[in-house]
Symmetry: D2
Subunit: 258 residues, 4 copies
């Protein structure tokens, strides 16, 4: 094979005794910005202010874990139970995050974006754009990504995210559209299908300037520590090769007063 | 197969419209604690104070990325170049974090812990314990994990971590031992082999009450967003199936004033 | 979660001291059929005759390895170089088999199938169906999957597969169509773009009754032992964390007389 | 980074229109040797004769699948259920093959090898070497790898493998030792703990000149098609995100007359 010309990367400049992330000396970032802000910087190239930082923190906290029987956790625990090292357990968990589990953020971002584009192109109102989009989905009998949840009819994480987005003045056109879609969907479908946490994250990420291609990675980044906690619990509490029955699990941890 | 009795988990309690992480309602944690603090809570079951939170942030920022040609990034970019989805790219990156790359934190924690245990058991001084440990390694011609670096002779991340640990009064017996080991190693070996960023993280995690089994996962959690940034850059800047030559890469991003 | 009713599988029936694959006692299959035949049985539920068995063997041998610098091998070697266990190295290799590397079989099967369907629906000749298909691709300036190769202008594996298919009388309508497409493509495009090994495998699998969804898995199954050989060579010949330069590799093994 | 000198590989030589596996033109191997023989060639560099080929086939057939509720299959099905592509499902399955599941072959090979080495070094009889080894394990209350099975007290695969090994005259010192260990273990422990399929494969691989480091990869190579069959069944028979209960699965496939 012939020698190619040099290829380029604009993420991290590593020189002896100097590491710069997106141009900033990493030792200056340490202690100055949070991990959540550094994530935003790494992914977008822009240093986020503290408001964005707080929303990033809230988004990542919201999705950190959802119990021991979600598919990604069950797959990771199953691998762990055979003796897999922790990195393999996390890899198994991430490979179990796909279209039907943790994959709604990107497609919800694209849906909201299409409604915003429609509005911009046609000059119509937010409500009109939401109505067209909802009717299109209902006619094709398709579910709107980011709406409804198997377990939660009124997800406390959604409410809190929207509250924080308003408080920090991060909410913009996408959050507005997501809220309009919620109302219009309830009215047109005749039943309440509330915005779920994926939908709220989707709207917030759009308003924070994140590209849809990165949407699902926020779920992945958030869930990695949750997977690690689950994997360590499997390693330290359970015997190898046990039968892991998802229909027969209970919580025996503490309950802290609010 | 017969039905087992219920198995237990103490991490997350999921009930309709209620999600509690280690006992705390997740919507109350959102906006109150950082993602870095939530990671500590998920992994240990204890809510960390703000000092611990700031150190967690600094640790995770320090290891977020180290350029486009580290093995985990090369492997992730290679998979991406064939058309792998992002979660597969991250999985490939994590599966390339092992003993020789990102794996020094756990063994360094165990080494420091053994020196601390030796001190406690024998009643000797910190210096004496460090001397015994260093001499043991030198006699067996073994490298001390957490010391020395291929690229950095004076790693700015190490200095900054130790500075922050002192400032936030998080540094304890493990950091003290790590610093003593640095001095003793230089003296006994006759050459400077400074504490590297893995070693500094190892000492800090011990002082923050983290078990060694979790040590390397801090590198993994930190590196996931770095891998995602690298994967997205590969997807958006490069053509599929290019030859990825690790000897021929340069940085073409911005340089920001300090 | 509520108890579901039992779920069913039709692949393997495991009872104490009895294992039946697709209904056949596995100890009776052992010694009676080849691994390649057992693969066909496991995937389709049908016991293949010896002709099919020989073609299965030839297909799997043809794709067993393609040198140390294919992307899947480079990724697997990179992971191995960091200390990954063998199963992780294989997983990394498989995760690097996607649309642009090893992924042509399925789409080529679908393309050939569509030409066969067109012919059946319209009653046209093989040549007419091939012409329509080729012209459609050329008009859209799209490459036909399964034609052309980066390295081989006259791939010895293709020739041999087609020869064996004829000899064993396994070649049917799909192989006929693939050969017609080759001629028509050369004529219409004005340059020789021969059927490559993926294309030959695609045609053969169709004629052997394999569904397109399984097409790429034949490349994967074949390549697993090749990946293992490469991983073991990396483990036993190279030092950890070496720089793996794909532009600078040579072959130093034996050359056997033909 | 500086340019390294060329690195070498002795597995496959790829030149335009020429691919040689371990020195042999791959198109000459196709149609001449089975996939199982090509696996032996790729891994060892030696072309096996037909007796070895038949044993390789029997070994790989014996481990091709073991039902829908083994851990590797459950993990692969769980990932698939979330929408994972097939290669990710296989990777998840392989990452779930570790010490406690599919990992006994290598350690059993090392155990038998140590008894053979003991015999060679001390000049003792096969029985004496077996006795020492068994007594050592019993004193330490350790299980002998390769003996006993959760489901099968008289595994039909073991019997068939040993029968074929005798018939093909492949059985040598390792098989002899494994059989001696079986008898001695029963006598010394007072209960029948028969050689299981992993143990039989271990002994055979040793007699066929395979290094222990490769032992578990025979389980992996064999299981890949089984995993693919299970993954495709999950994709085609089940709805996404179903609860996969390992305690509630039955077989509904055919039963063929023997």
């Amino acid at each position: 094979m012939e020698k190619n010309s040099a290829w380029q990367s604009a993420i991290t400049d590593v020189q002896p005794n100097s590491i710069r992330l997106r141009g900033y000396p990493i030792d200056q970032l340490m202690g100055s910005i949070s991990f959540a802000q550094a994530i935003y910087l790494a992914l977008t190239g822009n240093l986020p202010d503290e408001r964005y930082g707080r929303l990033m923190d809230a988004i990542l906290v919201s999705a950190i874990d959802h119990g021991a029987t979600t598919p990604s956790t069950l797959a990771a625990r199953t691998a762990t139970s055979t003796g897999a090292p922790i990195n393999a357990g996390i890899a198994v968990g991430l490979l179990s995050i796909n279209e039907h589990h943790g994959g709604a953020i990107e497609i919800c971002m694209r849906m909201i974006q299409s409604a915003l584009d429609d509005r911009r192109a046609s000059g119509c109102s937010v409500e009109e754009a939401a109505l067209r989009l909802v009717n299109g989905y209902l006619e094709q009998k398709k579910r709107l990504p980011g709406f409804g949840h198997r377990v939660h009819s009124d997800d406390p994480r959604t409410k809190r995210l929207l509250e924080l987005a308003a408080q920090e003045q991060v909410a913009g056109a996408a959050v507005e559209m997501a809220q309009m879609l919620t109302g219009v969907l309830a009215r047109q479908s005749g039943r309440a299908l509330p915005l779920n946490v994926d939908g709220a994250i989707a709207a917030l990420l759009l308003d924070m300037g994140i590209e849809p291609e990165l949407g699902n990675t926020f779920f992945m980044m958030a869930r990695v520590p949750g997977l690690i906690a689950q994997i360590r619990e499997e390693q330290s509490r359970e015997r190898p090769m046990r039968v892991i029955d998802p229909t027969n699990q209970t919580y025996d941890g503490m309950r802290r007063e609010e």
